[in-house]
């Protein structure tokens, strides 16, 4: 009796990270000073960081380069974070995405549920860093 569901979970392709190889991050943020701040901080924490100022640039970069993780703002010109998120998750290769925004109310918006994490912007980047580490390890 009852139904039997067969669910096959296919994980992302195995990726070998060489010991020296740094995890590659992409920061998508329209405000230059903030973008620079994140990039500098994360580079100092031992990540290889690329920068994009809006969704369009981000998609272009993601297609060219294998990123380990994307950190993304929501309100951006040209293509906003939610649209970009949709494009990123529809890529063949699964890349974890952290929504990092000054808005706290988008957390309840189901469009952001497909992101791996939703963090509210803070001048203290410790929370962000620990989330990055957590997500990169599991991948």
């Amino acid at each position: 009796m009852g139904n039997i569901f067969n669910i096959k979970l296919t994980g992302p392709p195995e990726k070998t990270i060489p010991g020296d190889d740094m995890a590659k991050l992409l920061i998508v943020e329209d405000e230059e000073s903030l973008r620079d701040l994140y990039a500098e901080e994360l580079e100092e924490s031992g990540f290889e960081v690329s920068r994009a100022s809006n969704g369009k640039e981000a998609i272009d970069l993601v297609r060219k380069k294998d990123f380990d993780l994307v950190i993304m703002d929501i309100r951006m010109p040209e293509m906003d974070g939610i649209e970009t998120l949709g494009k990123v998750i529809s890529l063949e290769r699964k890349i974890p995405v952290i929504i990092y925004t000054a808005y706290s109310n988008y957390k309840s918006n189901f469009m952001t549920w497909t992101a791996d994490a939703y963090l509210t912007k803070s001048s203290n980047l410790d929370e962000l860093k620990s989330k990055i580490n957590e997500l990169i390890v599991t991948v």
């Binding site: 000073s33 903030l34 706290s104 109310n105 912007k121 001048s123």
Partner: protein, 703 residues
């Protein structure tokens, strides 16, 4: 007939008595004396002669006696003949004529007998005819619906027709000589005045009184049209009062007027109780014309509950009502009921309710949708104690209120105070009235329900609007939070970097100054945001003067000329030179156009096109700003006027919100829409002040 008069008659009588008594007696005496003197000795012959003389005397007396009768008839014979002759011709005139002694009396007698016989037959045939007519007339009088009475000048009844006696319950044999006071419970003042007008003032015309309230001694009420006319019989003034009973017609009219009055006023904010009260007053037709008491029960869910009652609480009160009715003019009878009379009965009925699952006579009438006429409540098995206690009478009628083939309630009515039975006629009247009343109540209750539902919807709508407002507040708050958090994060982040570098002892002056620069820039941004918010919320004081909108537009244009040139935008201005002046604040208006133009410039790509058009109609000046830019991406174009809505990288999204606020403060309207050919269009309407106001303001300016 006797023609002998005075001395002549006396002489006649003396002669008659002389002839009748004296002469025969003298003759008899002379004969006897003569006979005795002639004869010397009394022999046989003498006795025979004496006896023969006596016999002669008696015969002569007898003859004279006969002659005496004949004498009178004979005397009048001529007259008698003439009378008979005249009588034959149909005349009764007597002529004095000389008596002819030769006439034979027996012939006259014979003729007289014949005439007498003829006369007899004429009289009897005429009395038959009279009897026939009498019968016909009395039949007519009895069969007419109208009641009529004849009264004398002392208000005593001389005649009353059968219908009247029956209607007012008076024995027709004993009615003669009764006063009006002993027939009517109250003698209506109008009737009194009418009678005195006819009898006292000898008015030749009949007095007609409409809608007079009459009440018999046994409290039978009636509304009647009266016709009072005078006549003179044997020198005595009499008045004929014809009474036309219009109670039924009046009741029907009353019902109809109550119903139409109710249906007309139903849409007004009227209390349910008032509607119910009016309907029951209709059942009692004012007070006392219909039923004495009426009660209304309405079904609610599975309960039958008493809702309203009309009628006196006591006999004294009933008398008082009738008294006032009969003495007052008719207008109080036809007037619509006023305030609800609160009394014991109403209290009792209102506290009376029972389940429809219960088995009693009320429920039976309600369920079967059939009227029930209870004639003897005490012995009626169907009437339970509760109802007996409520009604306190033996006879009452239960009439279901049926609307659209279902019962919605009951009307219960009785004649508690005038102690007369409930007639079939009044039940029929009530039945018709109930049918219409039920329809009215049903539609009224529906109306109430609809109104209630509408109110609920309105409340819900208000709640929705309220929650929408709250959502807007939330949205605005979140925008503000965003505007503040971004610079704060940036500032905090850079400050931390400086601290970190300082802690590590590697202070790079260049890096520090860059961080400090960013911190400074961000703090400036914060300040700007804050002042923008403050600007937006602070109450504005406008200078209100008459401005030419075209002038403001041109002024603003010169400010933006360079930007337009730089971005290679084409601008087209189509300004109506006859544009009326608008009462406005010059600087605030300039701000509006600056914001709008800036918005259009920002949205329009290079080599785009911007159009500014002004125009006016009777009451509005219109300004249209069009661009060939990206248009408004939001689903509802008006959302762009919400504070902190922005699609721009720079700016906090207060520009258009400010525009809207200013326009609103000028009693104007603003609307944003997407043009079908691409780009956005902003339409502003500003009111043109009334001409006299402008004149007044101009005068003020001159002074």
């Amino acid at each position: 007939m006797n023609r002998f008069r005075g001395n002549n008659a006396n002489l006649r009588k003396i002669i008659y008595w002389m002839i009748k008594i004296f002469i025969p007696n003298v003759l008899l005496a002379v004969y006897i004396i003569g006979l005795l003197m002639i004869t010397e000795n009394l022999g046989r012959t003498t006795y025979i002669m004496l006896i023969a003389g006596m016999l002669f005397y008696f015969v002569t007396r007898l003859y004279f006696y006969y002659y005496k009768i004949g004498f009178f008839l004979w005397n009048n014979l001529k007259n008698l003949r003439q009378v008979v002759d005249e009588f034959k011709k149909g005349k009764f005139v007597l002529n004095e004529t000389q008596i002819k002694q030769t006439d034979d009396i027996s012939n006259v007698m014979k003729e007289l007998l014949t005439v007498g016989k003829q006369f007899d037959s004429i009289v009897s045939s005429q009395s038959d005819e009279l009897k026939k007519y009498h019968e016909i007339y009395s039949h007519i009088i009895c069969s007419i619906n109208s009641y009529f009475i004849v009264i004398d000048s002392r208000d005593r009844i001389l005649y009353a027709n059968e219908a009247f006696c029956k209607k007012f319950g008076i024995d027709s044999k004993n009615i003669n000589g009764k006063g009006l006071n002993s027939i009517f419970y109250f003698v209506n003042t109008r009737l009194k005045i009418g009678i005195s007008h006819v009898l006292g003032d000898h008015s030749p015309d009949a007095v007609v009184l409409k809608n007079v309230h009459l009440m018999s001694i046994n409290r039978k009420s009636m509304i009647a049209d009266l016709k009072i006319s005078g006549m003179t019989v044997n020198g005595e003034e009499q008045a004929v009062i014809i009474i036309d009973d219009i109670t039924d017609r009046f009741s029907k009219d009353y019902h109809a007027s109550i119903l139409s009055h109710l249906s007309e006023t139903m849409r007004d904010e009227k209390e349910t109780d008032s509607i119910f009260y009016n309907i029951l007053v209709g059942v009692t037709s004012g007070s006392g014309l219909g039923f004495n008491r009426a009660m209304l029960f309405i079904a609610e869910d599975d309960l039958l509950a008493g809702r309203m009652a009309v009628g006196p609480d006591s006999f004294e009160e009933a008398i008082e009502i009738w008294n006032s009715l009969s003495s007052s003019d008719v207008d109080t009878v036809t007037a619509f009921p006023g305030d609800i009379k609160k009394g014991k009965l109403l209290e009792k009925v209102k506290s009376f309710s029972f389940s429809l699952a219960k088995e009693n006579i009320f429920v039976a009438a309600f369920r079967d949708m059939e009227r029930i006429h209870v004639r003897n409540a005490q012995s009626d098995q169907r009437v339970d104690d509760e109802i007996k206690k409520l009604m306190e009478v033996d006879e009452f009628i239960i009439m279901p209120l049926i609307s659209l083939n279902r019962s919605i309630g009951l009307i219960v009515a009785d004649n508690r105070y005038n102690m007369t039975g409930i007639s079939n006629q009044s039940i029929d009247l009530l039945s018709v009235f109930s049918f219409q009343a039920a329809f009215l109540i049903e539609s009224y209750l529906n109306l109430v329900e609809v109104k209630k539902e509408m109110k609920r919807l309105e409340e819900r709508q208000e709640a929705i609007v309220e929650s929408e407002k709250m959502a807007a507040v939330g949205r605005i708050a979140s925008h503000i939070a965003h505007e503040i958090r971004n610079p704060l994060v940036t500032m905090g982040g850079y400050a931390k970097r400086i601290l970190k570098h300082a802690a590590e002892g590697e202070i790079d002056a260049k890096k520090v100054s860059k961080s400090a620069d960013i911190i400074l820039k961000e703090s400036e941004r914060l300040e700007k945001t804050l002042s923008n918010v403050m600007d937006f919320t602070k109450p504005s004081k406008y200078i209100q003067e008459f401005n030419d909108i075209n002038h403001i537009i041109r002024d603003t244009y010169t400010l933006l000329k360079n930007v337009l040139f730089e971005r290679n935008l084409k601008i087209r201005m189509d300004l109506d030179e006859n544009l009326p002046a608008v009462k406005s604040d010059f600087n605030q208006m300039k701000q509006v156009f600056l914001n709008l133009f800036q918005n259009a410039i920002d949205a329009t790509p290079e080599r785009g096109r911007i159009e500014i058009i002004t125009g006016f109609d009777d009451s509005w000046v219109t300004i249209t700003v069009r661009d060939s830019g990206t248009g408004i991406t939001a689903d509802n174009p008006d959302i762009i006027f919400e504070p902190f809505f922005t699609t721009k990288i720079t700016g906090v999204g207060l520009g258009l919100a400010n525009v809207k606020k200013i326009i609103k403060d000028h009693s104007g309207k603003i609307k944003a829409l997407n043009r079908p050919e691409g780009g956005a269009e902003f339409l502003i309407k500003l009111p043109i002040p009334a001409a006299e106001q402008k004149q007044k303001d101009d005068e003020k300016k001159l002074n």
